[in-house]
């Protein structure tokens, strides 16, 4: 095999590996762009139907749908808030055994200054307390679910004016 052919094959292998890694990393994430406080018009999921429709948001992956609603109305910069969360397993997926909630500002390289706590209320319902987005701009609200021996991260973009 010529040097060029070896190099070409090495490049192809690297590209495939990079694509596979990318696919693996992005598969568990469901990205949904939304503006905080926009009413969720989600005809495809009735997950969290009991939440306040005015502020309910739904994030979907193939394994779970997750609905959340801020308890104090739309999320506002600099005001602590709590979330009511409902997780709805899809297909053969199980209910998560743990749920973590975080938020960060990727463009600024920082997260929240506050560590939220999450309490299970039973039947896939949770309550997260102690969140606060202290700066205007684009945040990512992240929900990390542990179910069936896997970690799944559901992410939603929140833009604060």
């Amino acid at each position: 095999m010529t040097r060029a052919a070896v190099r070409a094959r090495r490049c192809a292998c690297l590209a495939v590996a990079a694509l596979a890694t990318l696919a693996f990393l992005s598969a568990p994430q469901a990205m949904a762009a939304a503006v905080a406080g926009t009413p969720a018009q989600d005809a495809r999921s009735d997950c969290g139907g009991m939440l306040d429709a005015k502020v309910r948001q739904v994030i979907r992956s193939t394994r779970h749908h997750l609905a959340y609603a801020p308890r104090q109305g739309p999320i506002v910069q600099g005001r602590p808030f709590s979330l009511d969360i409902v997780v709805c397993p899809q297909g053969s997926a199980s209910m998560p055994i743990a749920l973590r909630v975080q938020a960060d500002m990727p463009a600024h390289g920082h997260g929240m200054n506050y560590q939220p706590t999450v309490r299970s209320m039973g039947d896939g319902r949770y309550r997260a307390d102690g969140l606060m987005l202290h700066m205007a701009g684009r945040w990512r609200l992240q929900f990390e679910l542990s179910a069936d021996g896997r970690l799944e991260r559901l992410v939603q973009v929140v833009d604060l004016p």
């Binding site: 910069q77 600099g78 102690g130 606060m132 205007a136």
Partner: protein, 409 residues
């Protein structure tokens, strides 16, 4: 005719008012950014106008010292005012709260580092509008105004007081005894900590009354909000240009946000945190540790039903990047409260503007926010930004006088 004609006429008037406001206040009526007007006033896009409006209205809804059920009682405020200016609060009669928080210096002291019994390590912040803060002190070690008051009261380098001295003072002075009774409706508590907390709550109640009045910026902002052409035009052109820098290229409003011009959190701005060679001020990192260790935080039994105000204390997170972070100060009255930064290392507001203009990124934390960049402002832009910052001063702030208190015997 009539209803229709009236509606048409009203619409026409509104349109004309908008157009003339746009030119007087440099507002682009279609929301687009335009070139500055011939008189040097910039034009503001719809997005910029929204950002300007977010810095008001002022004053905001009334706030109260969290966990202090006496905060709004006039008798407690009167006791607090009386104690704030009383040097007898320190056992040797040398220092009062007003030694470092002078009304004539916007309730700061005009020094780089405050002078207690020794020269202290930090600059005394202005107390104006402090009731609207989330955390108190440059490191946010206190989660209420009243608990903040306890630290300098007991610090041996500052008032160096102690509960036994306070008890003596409050027992022996008939006027203070009378004011105490009126304020709290009870004799001095037997427990030293309870006594200390009530003294601090009286001080917190008084400091909570220091809310400044609207400034030239607020008048401009309100004029934009109500589309008042004449009032908007009175705001100087250089301050308008500085404002546009502040909310635009400078991105200052990300941290200096909202009506207080501060988001109330902490940041590293490359100021350096060596107190002296070999000794560092840990800033927010130390503040969170002190807050958690405090017997007087909002999670303690001394806090009166703090409710949602205690959420911050329960959830605040200690992070490595907090090391060397200091509170983002309010910019209201900023021109009156120099020197600047946590240790007063910058003597003038012009030096602060230059600091951000020539920021040395190598001095920022490697794991800190990726937010700051040198602004590279030319001299004219620096002057504009200064004009804007000066417009955030309440002209009445330096004329503050203590209230005459009714006699109490």
């Amino acid at each position: 005719v009539t209803a229709l004609a009236r509606r048409w006429w009203r619409g026409l008037c509104r349109g004309l008012a908008l157009v003339s406001l746009a030119s007087a206040a440099g507002v682009a009526a279609d929301g687009a950014t335009e070139v500055p007007t011939s008189d040097g006033r910039p034009t503001f896009s719809a997005e910029e106008r929204a950002r300007i409006l977010a810095h008001g209205p002022w004053p905001p809804p009334a706030a109260s010292d969290p966990g202090n059920r006496f905060a709004n009682r006039p008798d407690t405020i009167a006791l607090g005012q009386r104690l704030f200016f009383d040097q007898a609060l320190s056992p040797d009669g040398r220092l009062s709260c007003a030694s470092c928080h002078l009304p004539g210096h916007a309730f700061a002291d005009g020094r780089a580092r405050s002078q207690g019994r020794v020269t202290l390590e930090r600059n005394a912040p202005s107390l104006w509008n402090s009731v609207h803060e989330r955390w108190w002190g440059w490191d946010g070690a206190a989660d209420s105004l009243w608990s903040q008051a306890i630290r300098p009261l007991l610090d041996p380098r500052e008032l160096a007081s102690h509960p036994a001295h306070l008890r003596r003072l409050l027992q022996e002075q008939p006027e203070l005894r009378c004011r105490w009774q009126r304020s709290f409706g009870m004799p001095l508590p037997a427990d030293d900590a309870d006594l200390l907390v009530l003294v601090a709550k009286a001080l917190g109640a008084f400091v909570g009354t220091l809310v400044s009045q609207p400034t030239p910026f607020d008048q401009f902002r309100d004029a934009l909000a109500r589309q008042d052409v004449q009032a908007a035009a009175r705001y100087p052109a250089d301050a308008q240009r500085g404002l546009q820098l502040f909310i635009g290229r400078g991105r200052c409003q990300l941290c200096h946000a909202g009506p207080r011009f501060s988001h109330g959190e902490f940041g590293d701005i490359g100021a350096g945190f060596f107190v002296r060679p070999g000794v560092v001020d840990p800033g927010r990192h130390g503040g969170i540790l002190a807050l958690r260790a405090s017997a007087y935080n909002l999670l303690s039994p001394h806090a009166d039903a703090p409710g949602d105000a205690a959420v911050k204390t329960r959830h605040v997170q200690l992070q490595h990047r907090n090391f060397g972070e200091f509170k983002v100060p309010t910019l209201r009255n900023v021109a009156l409260s120099g020197p600047y930064l946590h240790d007063g290392r910058l003597a003038t507001l012009a030096e602060v503007v230059r600091h951000y203009s020539e920021l040395d990124l190598n001095r920022l934390h490697a794991d800190g926010e990726r937010l700051l960049e040198p602004l590279r402002l030319n001299p004219g832009e620096q002057q504009d930004l200064l004009a804007f910052l000066r417009s955030l001063s309440d002209p009445a702030a330096l004329r503050w006088q203590p209230k005459a208190l009714p006699a109490c015997r």
